[in-house]
Protein backbone atom coordinates (compact mmCIF):
# COMPACT_ATOMS: atom_id res chain seq x y z
CA UNK A 1 0.00 0.00 0.00
CA UNK A 2 1.11 3.53 -0.72
CA UNK A 3 3.07 4.86 2.29
CA UNK A 4 1.66 8.36 1.78
CA UNK A 5 -1.83 6.93 2.08
CA UNK A 6 -0.81 5.18 5.31
CA UNK A 7 0.35 8.47 6.79
CA UNK A 8 -2.92 10.07 5.73
CA UNK A 9 -4.84 7.23 7.38
CA UNK A 10 -3.06 7.92 10.65
CA UNK A 11 -3.80 11.62 10.17
CA UNK A 12 -7.51 11.02 9.59
CA UNK A 13 -7.67 8.75 12.62
CA UNK A 14 -5.96 11.46 14.70
CA UNK A 15 -8.46 14.01 13.49
CA UNK A 16 -11.30 11.74 14.59
CA UNK A 17 -9.69 11.23 18.01
CA UNK A 18 -9.33 14.95 18.65
CA UNK A 19 -12.82 15.79 17.46
CA UNK A 20 -14.66 12.97 19.21
CA UNK A 21 -12.75 13.21 22.47
CA UNK A 22 -14.25 16.66 22.83
CA UNK A 23 -17.72 15.58 21.71
CA UNK A 24 -17.63 12.41 23.81
CA UNK A 25 -17.20 14.31 27.06
CA UNK A 26 -20.19 16.53 26.34
CA UNK A 27 -23.17 14.93 28.06
CA UNK A 28 -26.14 13.86 26.00
CA UNK A 29 -24.53 13.84 22.57
CA UNK A 30 -26.34 11.16 20.60
CA UNK A 31 -23.94 8.91 18.68
CA UNK A 32 -25.84 8.89 15.39
CA UNK A 33 -26.25 12.65 15.17
CA UNK A 34 -22.59 13.36 15.85
CA UNK A 35 -21.09 10.56 13.75
CA UNK A 36 -23.33 10.60 10.69
CA UNK A 37 -23.21 14.22 9.45
CA UNK A 38 -19.43 14.50 9.74
CA UNK A 39 -18.81 11.14 8.06
CA UNK A 40 -21.25 12.16 5.35
CA UNK A 41 -19.37 15.42 4.84
CA UNK A 42 -16.10 13.52 4.37
CA UNK A 43 -17.70 11.08 1.93
CA UNK A 44 -19.28 13.85 -0.12
CA UNK A 45 -15.99 15.74 -0.14
CA UNK A 46 -14.59 12.80 -2.10
CA UNK A 47 -11.82 11.63 0.24
CA UNK A 48 -10.31 8.19 -0.36
CA UNK A 49 -12.54 5.42 1.05
CA UNK A 50 -9.67 4.02 3.18
CA UNK A 51 -9.24 7.39 4.87
CA UNK A 52 -12.94 7.58 5.63
CA UNK A 53 -12.95 4.08 7.09
CA UNK A 54 -9.99 4.73 9.38
CA UNK A 55 -11.61 8.02 10.43
CA UNK A 56 -14.88 6.27 11.23
CA UNK A 57 -13.34 3.40 13.19
CA UNK A 58 -11.20 5.85 15.22
CA UNK A 59 -14.31 7.97 15.80
CA UNK A 60 -16.45 5.15 17.20
CA UNK A 61 -13.66 3.77 19.38
CA UNK A 62 -12.92 7.23 20.83
CA UNK A 63 -16.57 8.18 21.25
CA UNK A 64 -17.53 4.93 22.99
CA UNK A 65 -14.63 5.29 25.40
CA UNK A 66 -15.06 8.98 26.21
CA UNK A 67 -18.87 8.78 26.44
CA UNK A 68 -18.63 6.61 29.53
CA UNK A 69 -16.64 9.28 31.41
CA UNK A 70 -19.27 11.94 32.18
CA UNK A 71 -21.60 9.02 32.90
CA UNK A 72 -19.33 7.65 35.58
CA UNK A 73 -18.00 10.93 36.95
CA UNK A 74 -21.10 13.08 37.22
CA UNK A 75 -24.06 10.87 36.33
CA UNK A 76 -24.84 12.51 32.98
CA UNK A 77 -24.74 9.93 30.16
CA UNK A 78 -22.27 10.94 27.45
CA UNK A 79 -24.42 9.30 24.80
CA UNK A 80 -27.18 6.79 24.14
CA UNK A 81 -24.98 3.76 24.75
CA UNK A 82 -23.66 4.89 28.10
CA UNK A 83 -27.16 5.64 29.39
CA UNK A 84 -27.38 1.86 29.85
CA UNK A 85 -24.89 1.97 32.71
CA UNK A 86 -26.12 5.04 34.53
CA UNK A 87 -27.86 3.39 37.51
CA UNK A 88 -24.82 1.21 38.15
CA UNK A 89 -22.31 4.04 38.03
CA UNK A 90 -24.52 6.11 40.33
CA UNK A 91 -24.50 3.23 42.80
CA UNK A 92 -20.71 2.93 42.67
CA UNK A 93 -20.38 6.67 43.07
CA UNK A 94 -22.48 6.60 46.23
CA UNK A 95 -21.01 3.45 47.75
CA UNK A 96 -17.60 2.79 46.26
CA UNK A 97 -14.57 4.22 44.54
CA UNK A 98 -15.65 5.69 41.19
CA UNK A 99 -12.17 7.01 40.33
CA UNK A 100 -10.73 3.50 40.44
CA UNK A 101 -13.73 2.13 38.55
CA UNK A 102 -13.16 4.62 35.74
CA UNK A 103 -9.68 3.27 35.16
CA UNK A 104 -11.14 -0.23 35.05
CA UNK A 105 -13.79 0.89 32.57
CA UNK A 106 -11.17 2.42 30.28
CA UNK A 107 -9.10 -0.77 30.44
CA UNK A 108 -12.21 -2.87 29.73
CA UNK A 109 -13.01 -0.69 26.75
CA UNK A 110 -9.48 -1.23 25.44
CA UNK A 111 -9.76 -5.00 25.74
CA UNK A 112 -13.20 -4.87 24.10
CA UNK A 113 -11.71 -3.22 21.00
CA UNK A 114 -8.75 -5.58 20.88
CA UNK A 115 -11.12 -8.55 20.89
CA UNK A 116 -13.78 -7.15 18.57
CA UNK A 117 -11.54 -6.01 15.70
CA UNK A 118 -9.99 -9.41 14.84
CA UNK A 119 -13.12 -11.41 15.70
CA UNK A 120 -15.46 -9.34 13.55
CA UNK A 121 -13.01 -9.29 10.64
CA UNK A 122 -12.89 -13.07 10.90
CA UNK A 123 -16.67 -13.40 11.11
CA UNK A 124 -17.03 -11.12 8.09
CA UNK A 125 -14.59 -13.31 6.18
CA UNK A 126 -16.69 -16.37 7.05
CA UNK A 127 -19.86 -14.64 5.85
CA UNK A 128 -18.31 -13.53 2.56
CA UNK A 129 -19.10 -16.72 0.57
CA UNK A 130 -22.82 -16.45 1.33
CA UNK A 131 -22.94 -12.69 0.70
CA UNK A 132 -24.20 -13.13 -2.89
CA UNK A 133 -27.11 -15.15 -1.57
CA UNK A 134 -27.91 -12.69 1.19
CA UNK A 135 -27.60 -9.37 -0.65
CA UNK A 136 -30.56 -9.73 -3.08
CA UNK A 137 -32.71 -10.66 -0.11
CA UNK A 138 -31.95 -7.34 1.60
CA UNK A 139 -35.46 -5.81 1.29
CA UNK A 140 -36.93 -8.92 2.89
CA UNK A 141 -34.23 -9.02 5.53
CA UNK A 142 -35.16 -5.49 6.57
CA UNK A 143 -38.80 -6.55 6.89
CA UNK A 144 -37.87 -9.56 8.99
CA UNK A 145 -35.35 -7.44 10.89
CA UNK A 146 -38.05 -4.96 11.88
CA UNK A 147 -40.37 -7.75 13.02
CA UNK A 148 -37.54 -9.54 14.79
CA UNK A 149 -36.38 -6.43 16.67
CA UNK A 150 -40.00 -5.77 17.66
CA UNK A 151 -40.36 -9.31 18.97
CA UNK A 152 -37.26 -9.17 21.15
CA UNK A 153 -37.99 -5.67 22.46
CA UNK A 154 -39.58 -4.95 25.81
CA UNK A 155 -42.94 -3.91 24.34
CA UNK A 156 -43.61 -6.46 21.64
CA UNK A 157 -47.19 -5.75 20.56
CA UNK A 158 -46.72 -1.99 20.68
CA UNK A 159 -43.55 -2.25 18.58
CA UNK A 160 -45.14 -4.62 16.05
CA UNK A 161 -48.16 -2.37 15.63
CA UNK A 162 -46.00 0.70 15.07
CA UNK A 163 -44.02 -0.73 12.12
CA UNK A 164 -46.66 -0.22 9.40
CA UNK A 165 -47.77 3.29 10.39
CA UNK A 166 -44.11 4.33 10.45
CA UNK A 167 -43.49 2.77 7.04
CA UNK A 168 -46.55 4.54 5.60
CA UNK A 169 -45.34 7.85 7.03
CA UNK A 170 -41.91 7.51 5.40
CA UNK A 171 -43.22 6.35 2.04
CA UNK A 172 -45.94 8.96 1.87
CA UNK A 173 -43.46 11.76 2.45
CA UNK A 174 -41.23 10.33 -0.27
CA UNK A 175 -44.20 10.09 -2.64
CA UNK A 176 -45.20 13.66 -1.82
CA UNK A 177 -41.73 14.98 -2.65
CA UNK A 178 -41.70 13.05 -5.94
CA UNK A 179 -45.16 14.31 -6.83
CA UNK A 180 -44.20 17.89 -6.16
CA UNK A 181 -40.99 17.42 -8.19
CA UNK A 182 -38.90 18.46 -5.19
CA UNK A 183 -36.83 15.31 -5.43
CA UNK A 184 -36.06 13.43 -8.70
CA UNK A 185 -37.91 10.10 -9.08
CA UNK A 186 -34.73 8.04 -8.83
CA UNK A 187 -33.69 9.54 -5.51
CA UNK A 188 -34.85 8.22 -2.15
CA UNK A 189 -34.63 10.39 0.94
CA UNK A 190 -33.19 8.41 3.85
CA UNK A 191 -30.56 10.38 5.74
CA UNK A 192 -32.75 13.17 7.04
CA UNK A 193 -35.57 10.74 7.84
CA UNK A 194 -33.49 8.72 10.21
CA UNK A 195 -32.05 11.81 11.82
CA UNK A 196 -35.70 12.74 12.35
CA UNK A 197 -36.12 9.46 14.24
CA UNK A 198 -32.99 10.17 16.27
CA UNK A 199 -34.11 13.62 17.30
CA UNK A 200 -37.66 12.39 17.93
CA UNK A 201 -37.64 12.12 21.73
CA UNK A 202 -36.03 15.57 22.06
CA UNK A 203 -38.54 17.15 19.65
CA UNK A 204 -41.41 15.53 21.49
CA UNK A 205 -40.18 16.88 24.84
CA UNK A 206 -39.63 20.37 23.48
CA UNK A 207 -43.08 20.49 21.86
CA UNK A 208 -44.64 19.32 25.11
CA UNK A 209 -42.99 22.24 26.85
CA UNK A 210 -44.75 24.66 24.50
CA UNK A 211 -47.92 23.69 26.33
CA UNK A 212 -48.15 26.05 29.32
CA UNK A 213 -49.85 23.53 31.62
CA UNK A 214 -47.24 20.88 31.01
CA UNK A 215 -44.44 23.44 31.32
CA UNK A 216 -45.59 24.65 34.72
CA UNK A 217 -45.64 21.06 35.94
CA UNK A 218 -42.16 20.41 34.64
CA UNK A 219 -40.59 23.62 35.90
CA UNK A 220 -37.89 23.26 38.52
CA UNK A 221 -36.89 25.91 41.03
CA UNK A 222 -33.23 25.11 41.04
CA UNK A 223 -30.44 24.05 38.73
CA UNK A 224 -29.07 20.57 38.54
CA UNK A 225 -26.38 19.95 41.13
CA UNK A 226 -23.43 17.99 39.87
CA UNK A 227 -20.90 16.46 42.21
CA UNK A 228 -17.42 15.68 40.96
CA UNK A 229 -15.86 12.77 42.86
CA UNK A 230 -12.53 13.11 44.64
CA UNK A 231 -9.34 12.01 43.00
CA UNK A 232 -7.90 8.57 43.26
CA UNK A 233 -4.65 9.23 45.09
CA UNK A 234 -2.94 6.02 44.08
CA UNK A 235 -0.86 6.21 40.94
CA UNK A 236 -1.95 3.02 39.26
CA UNK A 237 -0.48 1.24 36.30
CA UNK A 238 -1.83 1.82 32.80
CA UNK A 239 -1.42 -1.84 31.90
CA UNK A 240 -4.97 -3.18 31.51
CA UNK A 241 -3.83 -6.57 32.74
CA UNK A 242 -2.97 -4.97 36.09
CA UNK A 243 -5.92 -2.60 36.27
CA UNK A 244 -8.36 -5.49 35.90
CA UNK A 245 -8.20 -8.75 37.83
CA UNK A 246 -8.54 -12.13 36.22
CA UNK A 247 -12.22 -12.60 36.98
CA UNK A 248 -13.07 -9.20 35.51
CA UNK A 249 -10.97 -9.85 32.43
CA UNK A 250 -12.56 -13.19 31.67
CA UNK A 251 -16.14 -11.95 32.13
CA UNK A 252 -15.75 -8.87 29.93
CA UNK A 253 -13.80 -10.76 27.28
CA UNK A 254 -16.55 -13.36 27.03
CA UNK A 255 -19.14 -10.60 26.73
CA UNK A 256 -17.19 -8.80 23.99
CA UNK A 257 -16.73 -12.08 22.15
CA UNK A 258 -20.40 -13.08 22.20
CA UNK A 259 -21.82 -9.78 20.95
CA UNK A 260 -19.79 -10.04 17.75
CA UNK A 261 -22.08 -12.83 16.59
CA UNK A 262 -25.17 -10.80 17.48
CA UNK A 263 -24.28 -7.77 15.35
CA UNK A 264 -27.76 -7.38 13.86
CA UNK A 265 -29.30 -6.64 17.26
CA UNK A 266 -29.67 -3.24 18.89
CA UNK A 267 -26.38 -2.18 20.54
CA UNK A 268 -28.06 -0.60 23.57
CA UNK A 269 -30.26 -3.66 24.04
CA UNK A 270 -27.26 -5.98 23.82
CA UNK A 271 -25.24 -3.87 26.23
CA UNK A 272 -27.96 -4.02 28.86
CA UNK A 273 -28.65 -7.70 28.23
CA UNK A 274 -25.04 -8.91 28.43
CA UNK A 275 -23.89 -6.44 31.08
CA UNK A 276 -26.65 -7.24 33.52
CA UNK A 277 -27.14 -10.96 32.95
CA UNK A 278 -23.41 -11.68 33.19
CA UNK A 279 -23.19 -9.93 36.54
CA UNK A 280 -26.27 -11.47 38.16
CA UNK A 281 -24.29 -14.17 39.90
CA UNK A 282 -22.39 -11.68 42.09
CA UNK A 283 -24.06 -11.29 45.47
CA UNK A 284 -22.32 -8.17 46.78
CA UNK A 285 -24.17 -5.20 45.22
CA UNK A 286 -21.03 -3.08 44.82
CA UNK A 287 -19.15 -5.87 43.11
CA UNK A 288 -22.17 -6.58 40.94
CA UNK A 289 -22.40 -2.93 39.86
CA UNK A 290 -18.67 -2.79 39.14
CA UNK A 291 -18.72 -5.99 37.09
CA UNK A 292 -21.73 -4.66 35.19
CA UNK A 293 -20.15 -1.36 34.15
CA UNK A 294 -16.85 -3.00 33.25
CA UNK A 295 -18.57 -5.60 31.09
CA UNK A 296 -20.73 -2.92 29.49
CA UNK A 297 -17.66 -0.81 28.64
CA UNK A 298 -16.20 -3.71 26.67
CA UNK A 299 -19.50 -4.75 25.11
CA UNK A 300 -20.28 -1.22 23.88
CA UNK A 301 -17.07 -1.20 21.85
CA UNK A 302 -17.69 -4.69 20.49
CA UNK A 303 -21.28 -3.97 19.40
CA UNK A 304 -20.21 -0.92 17.43
CA UNK A 305 -17.16 -2.50 15.84
CA UNK A 306 -18.91 -5.70 14.79
CA UNK A 307 -22.02 -3.76 13.80
CA UNK A 308 -20.05 -1.75 11.26
CA UNK A 309 -17.28 -4.14 10.16
CA UNK A 310 -19.36 -7.25 9.47
CA UNK A 311 -22.08 -5.71 7.29
CA UNK A 312 -19.61 -3.42 5.53
CA UNK A 313 -16.94 -6.00 4.81
CA UNK A 314 -19.09 -9.04 4.11
CA UNK A 315 -22.30 -7.68 2.63
CA UNK A 316 -22.19 -4.05 1.59
CA UNK A 317 -25.74 -3.52 2.80
CA UNK A 318 -26.53 -1.89 6.15
CA UNK A 319 -27.82 -4.92 8.04
CA UNK A 320 -27.21 -3.82 11.59
CA UNK A 321 -28.47 -0.90 13.69
CA UNK A 322 -24.97 0.60 13.72
CA UNK A 323 -24.73 0.38 9.94
CA UNK A 324 -28.22 1.80 9.46
CA UNK A 325 -27.67 4.65 11.93
CA UNK A 326 -24.22 6.13 12.68
CA UNK A 327 -22.47 4.33 9.82
CA UNK A 328 -25.09 4.97 7.15
CA UNK A 329 -22.88 7.33 5.15
CA UNK A 330 -20.39 4.51 4.49
CA UNK A 331 -23.10 2.54 2.68
CA UNK A 332 -25.22 5.11 0.98
CA UNK A 333 -24.36 8.76 0.36
CA UNK A 334 -25.68 9.89 -3.02
CA UNK A 335 -24.18 10.90 -5.37
CA UNK A 336 -20.81 9.52 -4.19
CA UNK A 337 -21.82 6.18 -2.67
CA UNK A 338 -24.83 3.94 -3.22
CA UNK A 339 -25.93 0.50 -2.06
CA UNK A 340 -24.34 -0.96 -5.22
CA UNK A 341 -21.16 1.06 -5.00
CA UNK A 342 -19.95 1.76 -1.48
CA UNK A 343 -16.97 1.08 0.78
CA UNK A 344 -17.71 -2.65 0.51
CA UNK A 345 -17.18 -2.57 -3.25
CA UNK A 346 -14.44 0.06 -3.35
CA UNK A 347 -12.00 -1.42 -0.81
CA UNK A 348 -9.80 -4.49 -1.17
CA UNK A 349 -9.46 -6.87 1.78
CA UNK A 350 -6.01 -5.52 2.64
CA UNK A 351 -7.18 -1.92 2.51
CA UNK A 352 -10.16 -2.74 4.67
CA UNK A 353 -8.12 -4.54 7.32
CA UNK A 354 -5.32 -1.97 7.40
CA UNK A 355 -7.71 1.00 7.65
CA UNK A 356 -9.65 -0.68 10.46
CA UNK A 357 -6.56 -1.57 12.46
CA UNK A 358 -4.95 1.84 12.05
CA UNK A 359 -8.17 3.58 13.09
CA UNK A 360 -8.61 1.39 16.16
CA UNK A 361 -4.99 1.52 17.30
CA UNK A 362 -4.54 5.28 16.90
CA UNK A 363 -7.78 5.91 18.79
CA UNK A 364 -6.97 3.46 21.57
CA UNK A 365 -3.42 4.52 22.19
CA UNK A 366 -4.33 8.17 22.58
CA UNK A 367 -7.70 8.15 24.23
CA UNK A 368 -6.92 5.33 26.66
CA UNK A 369 -4.00 7.21 28.18
CA UNK A 370 -5.82 10.53 28.06
CA UNK A 371 -8.83 9.14 29.89
CA UNK A 372 -6.98 7.11 32.47
CA UNK A 373 -5.12 10.25 33.48
CA UNK A 374 -7.31 13.25 32.73
CA UNK A 375 -10.96 12.16 32.71
CA UNK A 376 -11.87 14.40 35.62
CA UNK A 377 -10.03 17.49 34.38
CA UNK A 378 -11.75 17.29 30.98
CA UNK A 379 -15.17 16.63 32.49
CA UNK A 380 -14.85 19.59 34.87
CA UNK A 381 -13.82 21.87 32.02
CA UNK A 382 -16.75 20.84 29.82
CA UNK A 383 -19.33 21.13 32.59
CA UNK A 384 -18.08 24.55 33.66
CA UNK A 385 -17.97 26.05 30.19
CA UNK A 386 -20.38 24.33 27.83
CA UNK A 387 -24.07 25.11 28.40
CA UNK A 388 -26.50 22.28 27.77
CA UNK A 389 -28.54 24.76 25.70
CA UNK A 390 -25.69 25.10 23.19
CA UNK A 391 -25.44 21.34 22.79
CA UNK A 392 -29.16 20.96 22.14
CA UNK A 393 -29.05 23.89 19.71
CA UNK A 394 -26.14 22.36 17.80
CA UNK A 395 -27.99 19.08 17.33
CA UNK A 396 -31.14 20.62 16.12
CA UNK A 397 -29.22 22.87 13.72
CA UNK A 398 -27.38 19.84 12.27
CA UNK A 399 -30.64 18.12 11.59
CA UNK A 400 -32.35 21.19 10.14
CA UNK A 401 -29.42 21.60 7.77
CA UNK A 402 -29.45 18.01 6.56
CA UNK A 403 -33.23 18.09 6.19
CA UNK A 404 -32.99 21.26 4.10
CA UNK A 405 -30.21 19.83 1.93
CA UNK A 406 -32.14 16.60 1.32
CA UNK A 407 -35.36 18.14 0.05
CA UNK A 408 -35.63 21.85 0.78
CA UNK A 409 -37.83 23.81 3.12
CA UNK A 410 -40.74 21.39 3.04
CA UNK A 411 -38.51 18.63 4.37
CA UNK A 412 -37.71 20.62 7.52
CA UNK A 413 -41.36 20.18 8.40
CA UNK A 414 -41.37 16.63 7.04
CA UNK A 415 -38.55 15.75 9.41
CA UNK A 416 -40.39 17.53 12.20
CA UNK A 417 -43.44 15.36 11.47
CA UNK A 418 -41.30 12.23 11.63
CA UNK A 419 -39.61 13.46 14.80
CA UNK A 420 -42.87 14.11 16.59
CA UNK A 421 -44.42 10.80 15.56
CA UNK A 422 -41.40 8.65 16.28
CA UNK A 423 -40.66 10.63 19.45
CA UNK A 424 -44.16 9.86 20.71
CA UNK A 425 -43.69 6.18 19.87
CA UNK A 426 -40.32 6.28 21.60
CA UNK A 427 -41.83 7.67 24.79
CA UNK A 428 -44.39 4.86 24.67
CA UNK A 429 -41.63 2.28 24.41
CA UNK A 430 -40.82 1.60 20.74
CA UNK A 431 -37.03 1.58 20.56
CA UNK A 432 -34.81 3.17 17.90
CA UNK A 433 -33.83 -0.20 16.42
CA UNK A 434 -37.40 -1.04 15.41
CA UNK A 435 -37.94 2.44 13.97
CA UNK A 436 -34.72 2.46 11.94
CA UNK A 437 -35.54 -1.00 10.56
CA UNK A 438 -39.05 0.19 9.67
CA UNK A 439 -37.47 3.01 7.65
CA UNK A 440 -35.36 0.57 5.65
CA UNK A 441 -38.21 -1.93 5.28
CA UNK A 442 -40.72 0.73 4.23
CA UNK A 443 -40.60 0.31 0.40
CA UNK A 444 -40.93 -3.47 0.61
CA UNK A 445 -43.71 -3.22 3.19
CA UNK A 446 -45.70 -0.89 0.93
CA UNK A 447 -45.36 -3.31 -1.98
CA UNK A 448 -46.63 -6.12 0.18
CA UNK A 449 -49.57 -4.01 1.36
CA UNK A 450 -50.44 -2.77 -2.14
CA UNK A 451 -50.10 -6.20 -3.73
CA UNK A 452 -52.11 -8.01 -1.06
Amino acid sequence: MDPVLLIFMVGFALMAVILYTGIGFIPGTDETSVLMPITLALVLAGFEPVLILSFFIAAIVTLNLTNTMPTALVGLPGGVMSSAMIEHTLYIKANGNIAATIKKMAAASLIGVLIAVPVSLLLAQLLLPVADVISPLAPWLFVFGAIFLALISRHKILSLLSILPLAILFESLRALYWNLNIVPQDQTITVSFFLGITIGPLMFTLFNLLNKNIRSQETLEDKNTIVLPKDDKEKTSLNPLQVLNKEERSQLSLGALIVNTLFILSPVGLTILIGESFSKRHKDPLKKATMTVITMSAVIQATYISGIIIPLFALGIPLSPVAIGPGAALFNAPPVLSLDNNLHHLLSTTEFVVATIIGALVALSISYILISRYAKVITRFILKHIPHESVLGLFIAFILLLAFMDAGLINIFGVLLIGLFSGALNKMGVNFGVQFMALYAAPQLMQILAGG
Binding site: L76, D222, K223, L383, H388, E389, S390
Partner: protein, 77 residues
Protein backbone atom coordinates in the same frame (compact mmCIF):
# COMPACT_ATOMS: atom_id res chain seq x y z
CA UNK B 1 -35.87 36.31 42.38
CA UNK B 2 -36.07 32.64 41.61
CA UNK B 3 -35.34 31.48 38.11
CA UNK B 4 -37.24 28.59 36.70
CA UNK B 5 -35.54 25.76 34.94
CA UNK B 6 -36.66 22.82 32.88
CA UNK B 7 -35.02 19.44 32.57
CA UNK B 8 -34.29 18.31 29.03
CA UNK B 9 -32.19 15.24 28.29
CA UNK B 10 -30.95 14.83 31.85
CA UNK B 11 -29.76 18.36 32.53
CA UNK B 12 -31.36 21.65 33.51
CA UNK B 13 -31.76 24.51 31.05
CA UNK B 14 -33.36 27.93 31.12
CA UNK B 15 -36.20 28.07 28.59
CA UNK B 16 -35.19 31.52 27.36
CA UNK B 17 -31.56 30.58 26.89
CA UNK B 18 -32.59 27.41 25.10
CA UNK B 19 -34.77 29.30 22.63
CA UNK B 20 -32.07 31.93 22.01
CA UNK B 21 -29.42 29.24 21.50
CA UNK B 22 -31.65 27.43 19.03
CA UNK B 23 -32.19 30.58 17.02
CA UNK B 24 -28.57 31.72 17.08
CA UNK B 25 -27.17 28.35 16.01
CA UNK B 26 -29.86 27.68 13.39
CA UNK B 27 -29.40 31.17 11.95
CA UNK B 28 -25.62 30.88 11.78
CA UNK B 29 -25.90 27.39 10.21
CA UNK B 30 -28.16 28.56 7.40
CA UNK B 31 -26.37 31.86 6.96
CA UNK B 32 -23.13 30.04 6.16
CA UNK B 33 -24.88 27.30 4.22
CA UNK B 34 -26.52 29.78 1.86
CA UNK B 35 -23.24 31.65 1.52
CA UNK B 36 -21.51 28.59 0.03
CA UNK B 37 -20.39 29.21 -3.55
CA UNK B 38 -22.51 27.32 -6.04
CA UNK B 39 -20.92 25.06 -8.58
CA UNK B 40 -20.45 21.41 -9.38
CA UNK B 41 -19.72 20.41 -5.80
CA UNK B 42 -22.44 22.56 -4.37
CA UNK B 43 -23.78 19.87 -2.03
CA UNK B 44 -20.43 19.15 -0.48
CA UNK B 45 -19.44 22.77 -0.05
CA UNK B 46 -22.90 23.58 1.23
CA UNK B 47 -22.63 20.85 3.84
CA UNK B 48 -19.19 22.02 4.93
CA UNK B 49 -20.26 25.64 5.15
CA UNK B 50 -23.37 24.62 7.06
CA UNK B 51 -21.44 22.46 9.53
CA UNK B 52 -18.98 25.30 10.02
CA UNK B 53 -21.87 27.67 10.64
CA UNK B 54 -23.33 25.28 13.19
CA UNK B 55 -20.04 25.12 15.07
CA UNK B 56 -19.64 28.89 14.81
CA UNK B 57 -23.11 29.45 16.28
CA UNK B 58 -22.37 26.89 18.96
CA UNK B 59 -19.25 28.81 19.99
CA UNK B 60 -21.19 32.09 20.12
CA UNK B 61 -23.68 30.55 22.56
CA UNK B 62 -20.88 28.96 24.59
CA UNK B 63 -19.38 32.40 25.13
CA UNK B 64 -22.69 34.20 25.52
CA UNK B 65 -24.42 31.93 28.03
CA UNK B 66 -23.40 30.29 31.29
CA UNK B 67 -24.22 26.63 31.94
CA UNK B 68 -27.18 26.19 34.28
CA UNK B 69 -25.72 23.68 36.66
CA UNK B 70 -24.11 23.80 40.09
CA UNK B 71 -20.79 22.05 40.25
CA UNK B 72 -19.39 20.96 43.56
CA UNK B 73 -16.42 18.77 44.32
CA UNK B 74 -16.17 16.11 46.99
CA UNK B 75 -13.62 17.05 49.63
CA UNK B 76 -10.61 14.83 50.13
CA UNK B 77 -11.01 12.81 53.27
Amino acid sequence: MKHSYIKVWGDTVKPKTLVSSLFIIAFSTFFFHLLAPSGENNDTLGLFFGLFGAVFGFLITVFAFKPNRHITEEEDA
